[in-house]
Symmetry: C2
Subunit: 310 residues, 2 copies
């Protein structure tokens, strides 16, 4: 069994690639710190992006949302003067609706994610939210503290980042199956995700980091940086805001206590020595997943690395 940790578009693209070559069960533990309540709807962006990529209905240009979606409901909502910066497409709305409905009927995020996955015909990858407890990532900016989605979508990553706080993380317990998926895996992949707001919250859930240190599985991370910058998203701004160097070596350092290998892009080959000094092995390759074939190649490479490690 393989287990992955991830959140965001990079993870979803990679999981699509690995789903095409996978011959064994894979569990993905997904960040839920991006979750947000909009007009009473419970939205779980990282789970949904993975569901949309795996089921093939994703809008590939944007990297998230549903292909060829319309925004007729949102256009009407503007009439009411409510906040419409979170661009909810009509086809996309269904998953939020269904989640909110099940949630109001007492189902947990794990139970909901399982039902959603099945409804989208996702069978070879089990999607687990990191926790069934509510956790929300907020960004401290020079203009006050705002929800991560507000920072990302509404403010378009423009405010200066002063700090990050994952509200509720102290009390968050791992969702059922999460610790087991780490303990029983033969290989664990840290997806090419934002280390601060996608992987960071997962590692913050009680017991997950300890399980990663303890597991017998080989652990390989894929750096989300290409030439020292993310392909999209605010990884560089957040890392800089926290006083961290924006580099694949820094990413390795964030995972140093449990990581065996890190895959970095050819454009970051200069980082190899720095990473070696942490006792982490580096694999240099082309990590840009511009299509499914390239994501498949990256996945195949990692699966081969796990073979070599056992």
């Amino acid at each position: 069994m393989i287990t992955a940790l991830g959140g965001g578009v990079g993870a979803a693209k990679f999981l699509k690639g690995i789903s095409l070559v996978l011959k064994e069960p894979l569990t993905v533990i997904v960040n839920t710190g991006d979750d947000i309540q909009i007009l009473g709807l419970r939205i779980s962006p990282d789970v949904d992006t993975i569901v949309y990529w795996l089921s093939g209905i994703v809008n590939r240009e944007k990297g998230w949302g549903v292909r060829e979606d319309t925004f007729h409901c949102l256009e009407q909502l503007e009439r009411f003067g409510v906040e419409t910066w979170f661009r909810l497409g009509d086809r996309d709305l269904a998953i939020h609706f269904y989640r909110t409905y099940l949630r109001d009927n007492g189902l947990t995020p794990s139970e909901i994610t399982d039902k959603v996955s099945k409804a989208f015909g996702i069978n070879n990858i089990k999607i687990l939210p990191m926790t069934d407890d509510d956790v929300e990532t907020w960004i401290e900016t020079d203009k006050g503290e705002i929800h991560f989605q507000e920072y990302l979508v509404k403010k378009e990553m423009t405010p200066d980042v002063k700090g990050i706080s994952v509200k509720g993380i102290d009390k968050a317990k791992p969702a059922p199956g999460v610790i087991q998926a780490i303990e029983e895996a033969r290989g664990i992949i840290i997806c090419p995700s934002n280390p601060i707001i996608s992987i960071g919250p997962i590692l913050g859930v009680k017991g997950i980091r300890e399980a990663l240190k303890r597991t017998a599985a080989g652990i390989i991370a894929i750096s989300p940086l290409i030439g020292g910058a993310p392909l999209k998203g605010p990884a560089d701004r957040l890392m800089r805001g926290l006083g961290l160097e924006v580099s694949s070596a820094q990413i390795a350092r964030l995972y140093e206590d449990f990581l065996d290998k890190i895959i970095i892009d050819e454009k970051d080959a200069i980082e190899v020595d720095k990473i070696k000094s942490m006792g982490i092995e580096t694999v240099v390759t082309d990590t840009v997943m511009s299509n499914d074939e390239k994501a498949e190649q990256l996945a195949t490479r990692i699966l081969r690395l796990f073979e070599e490690m056992t």
Copy 2:
């Protein structure tokens, strides 16, 4: 001031007509017995139909819903195996969302209806829900008791009607302004609405029937029947199910204790004598509102009748 009581497509068409000729304030007291909760959304069909007609975005062919709407959200919802018989269009969804959101934030149906009306630019007609308490009309059929919307939409009015129960009506208090609108009006119109499930629940709210008996205003009803049958909807089936004759005379009888005049269609002229025997005056005219002009003519006729009565 004029006050109207109504619910359903007939009322909405008539109100559109009167809104085009009106030179004084009009308050409409709307049935909320049709309200239903679908996938966590609070839907108030009679209020919405009036809002859509008055604002001009209604789908005129169907008589309800939003013109040129799409059903992309609903199509996706089918994936989840949830009930999708209530055909929620993408543009239509916005009003249900907004209502549910405000409701969850503690606003009453009156407050919500006021905000919705303003958002749709409706200024010359004040829309009041009959009550701020939750009331739901259920139909006893030969196959068990079902919500009115399920009878109407899902079952397409096919089950035999055995009885009607308006749940919550015993405890329903009139919404703020309802009694005053009846007491202070110079004329009151009972819209061409279903007497059983549109006007019936309004008359069942504590104090409304008494206020109608007490008011100094002239009260004129428009029969919803054309040639002894409704243009659409289940008025005939419901009346028959309750053992009532399906006729404009029967409609007059239902309102006998407070009604001054009833307008009936030319095709029902035969009913005049029967109605006269109740002490109610009949006006016979063409009541089919096939376009705004015809609705305007009907409204103008009623406004003139009020002039004659004072």
